[in-house]
Symmetry: D2
Subunit: 367 residues, 4 copies
């Protein structure tokens, strides 16, 4: 029960600190004979890597992934896949303030209280740098799922809210998501977000966001009641991402406002017996099991806690003081959480694909 591992059968164990020599992960339980290489994984790393626009941190990391094991002649062998990413831009600097003071909103105080020691350099283990390894694991999961479920299967994510500015869902266009620096599916909001985030950045401030993840082509039947429900695992996976404070499936928190009549996703069937629904308040999951509808998950990301405005805090000796967090930070860390959210949902789905295959099997059995 490694607490740095997630997954029941497709297990991802991550390791590494922000300013150590490298970070990495070990993926265990991957089906064999899946074609995979570093180039395939890298394209997803590149979506998350820093320094892609003025709207994200300027830390320079190529986030180049290297496969150390588990792949032979371009195919997975069924043995653990070890992936490593060397840290390149661990700036040698004076860590004085961050070493001796707790940054509000960061994990400095809790890590030191828990362990009695902490690697304060760049947040150490609690840095979002760790999420690079999740994206790498998610790429492997995606390759496996496309191999098993076909190209109709896809998991995509988008930024749907930044501060108080929410997209217009009428404008949703998946094709636009990778054409703007915010992963916005609504091109109309992009100029507004640009101006807003420029002002946030120039003020040394930061802002929160909401990301939506959509999984299409998921077969009915994935999920393992009662305590490894697909939605419970997605919730856990998303909440484990740095700075996430809320997770929703389908109607989410607003389900509280619905009546039974409004909430019921009515069911229909065509002549071939294919099932369809009138709506998707369930977010594609009923009783913890996928219904065949799109799986819809959303999560909120709090604003980066590193800001230039002085905040009151205490030092490691519990004397009251103030802190300003200089350095290279994302004004809206939610942007780079988009590919991370995709990755965490991908891993959850593959995990449940394997669990379902074990206990129940698919029909036809060739899937």
């Amino acid at each position: 029960m490694s607490t740095n591992t997630f997954g029941h059968l497709f297990c991802v164990t991550t390791w590494g600190e922000s300013h150590g020599e490298a970070i990495g992960c070990v993926i265990d339980g991957c089906p064999p004979n899946i074609e995979i290489d570093e180039t395939y994984i890298q394209q997803f790393m590149d979506k998350r890597k820093p320094g892609q626009s003025r709207h994200t941190t300027q830390r320079k990391e190529s986030d180049t992934v290297k496969i150390l094991s588990g792949v032979f002649e371009g195919k997975t062998t069924g043995t653990p896949i070890s992936l490593i990413i060397y840290n390149e831009d661990q700036r040698s600097k004076d860590y004085g303030d961050i070493k001796n003071k707790f940054r509000p909103g960061h994990a400095d105080y809790t890590y030191l209280s828990k362990y009695g020691i902490r690697d304060y350099r760049g947040g150490g283990r609690s840095s979002a740098r760790e999420t690079a390894t999740r994206v790498a694991a998610g790429a492997v999961a995606r390759k496996v799922l496309n191999s098993k479920l076909g190209e109709d299967f896809d998991v995509r994510a988008a930024l749907v809210q930044m501060g108080k500015y929410t997209i217009d869902r009428e404008n949703w266009d998946w094709n636009e998501v990778n054409n703007n620096p915010f992963f916005s599916p609504d091109v109309a909001i992009v100029p507004q977000w640009e101006d807003y985030l420029d002002s946030i950045r120039k003020n040394g401030s930061s802002i929160g966001a909401v990301i939506e993840v959509v999984a299409e082509g998921v077969p009915v039947g994935l999920g393992a009641p009662i305590y490894a429900k697909l939605d419970a695992d997605i919730a856990s996976n998303l909440m484990s991402i740095n700075a996430v404070k809320g997770v929703e499936i389908g109607a989410g928190m607003s389900a509280a406002e619905l009546t039974g009549e409004e909430n019921a996703d009515e069911m229909f069937s065509d002549e071939e017996g294919n099932v369809s629904f009138s709506s998707n308040n369930a977010g594609g999951i009923l009783g913890g099991i996928s219904s065949g509808q799109d799986i819809i998950a959303r999560f909120s990301v709090k604003p980066t806690s590193s800001i230039l405005t002085p905040r009151k805090t205490i030092d490691i000796d519990h004397n009251e003081t103030e802190i300003i967090t200089k350095g290279r930070h994302d004004p809206c860390v939610g942007i780079r959480a988009v590919p991370i959210g995709e990755a965490m949902v991908l891993c959850a789905i593959l995990d449940h694909y394997l669990l379902h295959k074990a206990q129940c099997g698919f029909c036809p059995a060739t899937k």
Copy 2:
């Protein structure tokens, strides 16, 4: 990796169906020498049991808990605690409609698709009846935590929203929560909720709700980064409850709207070095580890899917049809989710208390 088990060290395995002979759970990893008896557990069962007011289902269940193992002469022995609750009111009735048609919003379709078989009687395993066993396990967790952390430790929950009607937090009074049929901390809203829910019930409809859980007296340092973060485990535990569609920690989904300045919970210290905070947007958890502040979690519960209004659906042969769900149902199942939410948070906290004790230990070591 039983999927009907939750917890890393304080492990709860549940079993049983709505209309089987009994339901129950096995609690493993409980510390020894804790005083516990059936009477203590029963008081929490009674909060969740049906038929307490006109606002909940009229199914008659005493939900009497019996301890079958793991307790000797009134104390836990450290061996598995087996708890059993006999079902008393499995009404012999015609299951015709529910047997042959899928109820929208229920797990009928997904269970049958997954397993190729389902116990359709009252929802079988997917029935919220299973949650009785969680409340029993939560009572044991509470007794252990009070024994270890003292009487200042407490976990309480309350209903904070029903439909569009949200409590006034200015009126929050924990003493009132058990004095009204809704577990409302705001007595002023009770008459409004009564009228509203009466009309919902008389129309054969149902409505969603939001529950808030607050844990006080949690020591700093509980939580196991990265993938068994305290908030990730609470999210998983709460999302595993029937009908839950969203989970929030602290500021929750609204964290998206905060700036870094607003979000930062500034830190202070008194002369004894005791730490305090200016606010609690973090909900008591930073980097997955408890900060010593109150832990605040909220979750939404969708409206009961069983309603009297006919809904379009399909039968098990995928023919289109309609269904009306008669029977004994909660018009707002969120009410009875209040003690369940408490129980799931209690179990998560005890689990992390034990994990922390294993890896790091407490100072002073006597805790």
Copy 3:
């Protein structure tokens, strides 16, 4: 990670004490749509239950199994199967000696030292009575495996050594195993064992034994390197049985005496490509994965620690004293370990069958 659970996907959680009201287990991860009923399970319970001959304990237990959940209309539903066995012959007696003194060879001292409390009645949780639940779980595993692998699949066990008396393998006849009170495959040794054990019993003494378990019809490919190797899991499962002190696979401890030439199980193939081997020193497992040969495991069971000869010991206050363990005990507890060994190997094989199906699948996929 419940420590009272075994299995990765076919998970068995057991609970209960020797003199409590009942014992039982919860089986999770069982494939759905498998026909099972109490009668089927009972036949295996009857092999282990006490009082079948003068050579086993005279405690009167019918060991009647009752299914409380997870089976609907005679078939498994894929949800947890809860099995319960009520204790019937918890003799009300004076526990004085066993309460206050530690019986050498028993777990009295270690349980009390570990937990600071113990249910001393009949050994409490450390009693071999718990193994009844394993046999029940093994029966379910057997039914599933026969359903998936056909009737050629079988797991059988036999007593091959009692004290210094070892069977003649030339006489091995599986048909005889259930025709004598020792589960001996060699009828010729039965009279010798009868005389020997009568003398042991009359002297109030006890004796150890060796059991051999053979699994036939296991497909090639089961096992999950590196740390859930099929042989490692079988070793763990067998070593967890009360009183077991050694586990061997294939050549076992005597592998130390073999040369590489002797040890090599040479491989052959017939015209259809079916693989055969010249010998089976590997015991059917290579690199932790089944080879398609019979799986051969052996385990030793120490003599019952409850004997009539006075032994020196200490009391719970650490004063030196002596103890005689009266009561109803097996003179050779190894006999009743035969069906337990079968059950533990059955569970390990089903567990790995499911793991293999998840990660790799079978060819043809219908298996």
Copy 4:
């Protein structure tokens, strides 16, 4: 539930193939604030590394361990410790025979049957090269245990049998174990083993062995009944080592020959209440829990399957053929298993130390 991970709380996940770029492991759950560095670990690596004498393989590997994470300023931080060992002597050679034929006794056939693909270079994942990472993890466990339990705690192993040649236990001297190339505790047998193994090696043959592991200074109370018993976990850990075919605790397989009188380890107490025993047939474990006596475990290692004598086998197309395994092999792979056995027992003990601390705690609590 990664199958390449072992341990409940002190979790070791290993990765890597014999001829890949590197091998390594991730250790999770390590207590914080333990002093550790590469030099400390390296001394144990050096005991296992190849090419130390003419009696082991001539593959040249320095087995230099590098710490990539989890250690800060010379101390563990409580976060995952990633260790890497680069492979240096992956000889570029013609893999023809090993690529196309199955070596009897090796995992070639089972890996290919299971996964449908295999990294045949040097055995890939099934190579004993993986065990280097276990030794590294064991060194970390040792450092933690010495920190917690003091210097009286020690785990040591020795070779006690090679082929038919068994040591004289009267000659046992731990001080001699590291002074001869066999880790023999009996200097008298060394010349005999040298001659014997020279002849084995010159003939291109190989021979099996038995290793004994002794743990001293283990406190009473470690072990987690029923299915994570200390002996069950030690059995699993040892059986997971390449080529191991049998595991014994205390009297082991010979317990079958003992009477209850002989087997009983009688208990005594001195004036301070310190407990002692007349013998140690239990091998320091009663009911799955440590008794405070030395823990004694033994395991057999089969002869290296790579021999120069031609053996009959089949190729990957199931045609019958012969194979000679040339290359650099250990004539008695059991020798290098000595530090591996130590490591696996160390990890099991630390794991149970942490489990016990979680559930029960130690008295005095400072331990």
